[in-house]
């Protein structure tokens, strides 16, 4: 992120209609030495302090979680996002993301950590008033107090605003009395501070800072979960809970502003964590396959194993490239805020909300790559992978929740086209204009000759992927108008196309940047991943687009559009099997994820 000041921050979602050069994106190769050191400290802390405790944490010995959080606090691992004046370090978003990535290896404990520093502390960081920040942030930054976040209720999950918990000012006007139940609250066994959402007088959705010690606050029994067992999950019970009125967080009736902004952050952090876990699953699977012999041969040398490794690694490369590109966007945008604005939580949150689309993509793509990788990880381990003695079994169970929490992947898919349409109507992105231009352009489309220069084919695929995405989305909007929101399958297809093209472009730009910096020879592995990923993602885009066109159009228009799609998807495929073997051989030799 050199030259931050001169750099124009890129608009959220603009990648669909604009082309970037590789120096406009942040890539993991751009990590500074400090950022790498922060990552390493996190890694060492997880490896040396947390991992030996995991078997106990899995058995709900939560005293250990609290001690581990305090140790993390001493190392500064709880204060990345807390401003300096409240005892924090106020690190850049890349550092904060790296902490989340490295922490993720600890399974359920990373959820404990993430809930504390993220959804637990951030509402106060971003939306607390001066007194609230002074009172809570210094003790949260050290781990002296632990935070939790209470939004979900038995009857309201995805429909967060449908919460039933109520708040009513007492007659003396000193306290709000909160009544209701908040479900599946991470850290609830030991949290001291809960950010709780409730409706004042039954209709004004608002956030409150609720301390465990307040009268009327209690927690239910520990849940027995499928995965992330190392984290505590309970119901938070509020029975005439007495919350001093100064603990109202933000404005009355404006709780949704906090909730939605925090969700954006939770989503990209989840994407980053998924990258970390995916790498870990690949690493342990490579180690296992190199050590395991069948037919007197290490199983890693079988071609079907190689195919798995290459698939896993190229998908990880894609989700890693995409999510750090997104984090780079936040950084660019925040660095343009004035010192004054930096202190204004709403301005900071807006820098992230601008990229709500990218946050949603990172969430569902990251979690699905992780699910794919742990599933193949178990497969590579064979029967041993089914045994809890092996780490991959826990990783497989732990992975599953990621597709559900922080907004289900279905909700996040729907948000992508929904947000686009909103941005288009607000005039933030000239989507309709671009779609119209494209529709006339494609009528005269001539097949292009693609050269053989490095990345030329992949760039061509990205270019056409964008056209396909815009075409499909444009037709859908034209056809259904407002009723489009009922066509959820079409919306999800569009989201998938958009995700694939964002990821494709992210790997192409990252690889291009790496080649520019270190030469093609040193970027060989990146190039292989890029070639593999782009071709396969593009094939998916073609399938999604086809299904969408058939659902949306009919008759002559359909025939015409299908012919356009055929033109846009015409290219000479590469031999991915050969590429995958080559990429896998390097992975097997390194016995870890390498780029």
């Amino acid at each position: 992120m050199a030259n931050q000041t001169e750099k124009q921050a890129i608009k959220g979602g603009a990648f669909l209609i604009e082309d970037l050069t590789c120096d406009q994106v942040f890539t993991p190769e751009d990590f500074s030495d400090e950022q790498k050191m922060i990552a390493k400290t996190t890694e060492e802390y997880v490896h040396n302090s947390v991992m030996p405790q995991v078997p106990y944490l899995e058995k709900h010995e939560f005293d250990r979680s609290v001690k581990l959080l305090q140790e993390a606090g001493e190392l500064g691992l709880l204060s990345a996002d807390v401003p300096e004046e409240y005892g924090g370090l106020n690190l850049d978003k890349v550092s904060s993301a790296l902490i989340a990535e490295k922490m993720s290896i600890a399974g359920g404990f990373s959820i404990t950590h993430g809930a504390h520093v993220g959804i637990g502390s951030l509402p106060i960081v971003l939306f607390g008033n001066e007194e609230q920040k002074q009172k809570y942030l210094p003790v949260l930054a050290t781990g002296e107090k632990i935070a939790a976040y209470a939004l979900t209720e038995p009857g309201s999950g995805s429909d967060a605003l449908g919460a039933k918990t109520t708040a009513k000012l007492n007659t003396a006007g000193t306290h709000y009395l909160l009544n209701g139940e908040k479900q599946w609250i991470t850290n609830s066994a030991f949290a001291d501070v809960f950010v709780v959402y409730a409706k004042i007088d039954g209709d004004k959705f608002s956030a409150f800072i609720v301390e465990k010690e307040f009268p009327g606050v209690s927690t239910g029994a520990e849940e027995d979960k499928m995965g992330i067992k190392s984290s505590s999950t309970r119901t938070l019970i509020l029975q005439d809970a007495e919350v001093p009125k100064e603990n109202l967080l933000g404005e009355a009736g404006r709780g949704h502003v906090i909730a939605f902004n925090i969700l954006n952050i939770g989503r990209y952090k989840l994407g980053v964590g998924a990258v970390g876990s995916s790498k870990r699953a690949l690493d342990i699977s490579l180690k296992y396959a190199n050590g395991r012999q069948q037919f007197k041969t290490p199983i890693s040398s079988f071609n079907l194993m190689k195919e798995k490794f290459a698939n896993m690694a190229s998908k990880i490369y894609a989700s890693e490239s995409a999510i750090y590109r997104t984090v780079g966007y936040f950084e660019d945008r925040m660095s343009q805020l004035s010192a004054e604005e930096q202190k204004d939580g709403l301005a900071v949150a807006a820098s992230i909300a601008e990229y709500a689309i990218e946050c949603s993509l990172g969430k569902f793509f990251g979690s699905e790559v992780l699910d794919y990788v742990v599933d193949e990880g178990v497969q590579i381990h064979g029967g041993y992978g089914f045994m809890e003695e092996y780490e991959i079994a826990r990783m497989y169970r732990d992975s599953r929740i990621n597709r559900i929490f922080e907004g289900t992947n279905e909700i996040n898919r729907l948000l992508v086209p929904g947000t686009y349409v909103r941005k288009a109507f607000k005039g933030e992105l000239p989507l309709f204009e671009k779609a119209k231009e494209l529709q006339s352009e494609v009528m005269m489309l001539m097949p292009e000759e693609v050269g053989t220069e490095t990345l030329e084919q992949e760039k061509y695929l990205v270019k056409n992927a964008k056209k396909i995405g815009l075409l499909a989305a444009g037709l859908a909007v034209q056809k259904y108008g407002k009723a489009l929101e009922k066509e959820q399958e079409v919306l999800a297809n569009i989201a998938d196309i958009v995700n694939n093209l964002y990821a494709m472009e992210s790997v192409v730009l990252r690889t291009e940047k790496a080649i520019a910096k270190a030469g093609e020879e040193k970027a060989k592995q990146k190039l292989l991943y890029t070639q593999i990923f782009c071709q396969e993602a593009f094939n998916q885009i073609e399938a999604d687009a086809k299904e969408t066109l058939i659902a949306v159009e009919e008759g002559d228009t359909l025939r015409m559009m299908m012919s356009v799609l055929r033109k846009l998807t015409r290219y000479t495929p590469i031999n991915v099997i050969a590429k995958k073997r080559e990429a896998a051989d390097r992975l097997i030799a390194a016995e870890k994820y390498i780029v």
């Binding site: 400090e34 922060i38 390493k40 400290t41 802390y45 190392l75 500064g76 370090l89 690190l91 040193k522």
Partner: protein
């Protein structure tokens, strides 16, 4: 207390070593502070925190070693010095390193110099003692405990698994053995502070040294990996036949008798 730590950048212990054209391949490898030097840094920081003074970390190497020095600063060292020999020394050895370090240290009035017992790459274990020798300073190797009271120093050193207690005096050079302490990892505030700590870079010229004064005393003939470990073999049959076969194999195959 004026404490100096001698630090080397080495391959990460997790790295797989590969050799091509008689050279160890460094491409894409991760590098760390030599683990024994990490004990040295930790001990220096602890002694400084207890007795006051200053910890300076010194490394002979190339520009890349700046990262490891920065890590030592992030752990809590006060200053760092990189003696960059990239342009002047092509094939250095322990003598080269020791000579350069001694030249640097001779006017520094160090009370205590701590080095690692051995570097995990070269593995000579010579640099510490050679530096002490060149400085005319007493030294104790492979220490696992050190206590300083005024000028006198109480040391426990590891002697092939046994312990030896030694009393000596400052100034002194010691080399750190595993077990001396549990090195901290740099905290995030430490990392942020390290950015602002001084890291000076010197070259041979700055020490008034000529290239031939530090020329290696040894010559590397060949670099190769240890032979791949083969699976063992279990002999079968009558015990006396097995013994006979074993003796034969030691003669004909292993050629050790």
């Amino acid at each position: 207390m004026n404490i100096y730590v001698l630090l080397k950048r080495t391959f990460d212990t997790e790295e797989k070593i590969s050799v091509a054209n008689g050279q160890i391949q460094e491409d894409g490898a991760e590098f760390i502070i030599n683990p024994y030097d990490e004990y040295a840094v930790e001990e220096a920081i602890q002694i400084r925190d207890d007795k006051g003074g200053e910890v300076t970390v010194v490394s002979v190497g190339n520009e890349e070693a700046e990262k490891q020095l920065r890590t030592a600063l992030a752990m809590g060292a006060d200053k760092a010095v990189l003696i960059n020999t990239e342009d002047d020394v092509e094939n250095g050895d322990q003598y080269t390193t020791a000579k350069i370090l001694a030249e640097f240290l001779k006017d520094k009035e160090a009370d205590l110099i701590i080095a690692g017992n051995v570097a995990i790459d070269g593995g000579s274990g010579q640099v510490g003692p050679r530096v002490a020798d060149l400085l005319g300073m007493p030294y104790v190797t492979t220490i696992t405990e050190i206590k300083i009271e005024g000028e006198s120093v109480h040391i426990v050193r590891d002697v092939e698994g046994d312990s030896e207690k030694i009393e000596t005096k400052l100034p002194l050079l010691v080399t750190a053995q595993q077990g001396l302490n549990d090195p901290r990892y740099p905290s995030l505030p430490g990392i942020m502070k390290a950015k602002k700590k001084p890291l000076d870079e010197l070259e041979l010229d700055d020490l008034d040294l000529d290239e031939d004064e530090v020329e290696a005393k040894t010559e590397t003939i060949a670099v190769f990996l240890p032979p791949k470990k083969e699976a063992g073999r279990i002999l079968e049959g009558e015990l006396s036949d097995q013994v006979q076969e074993l003796v034969n194999l030691l003669h004909s195959e292993a050629k050790v008798i």
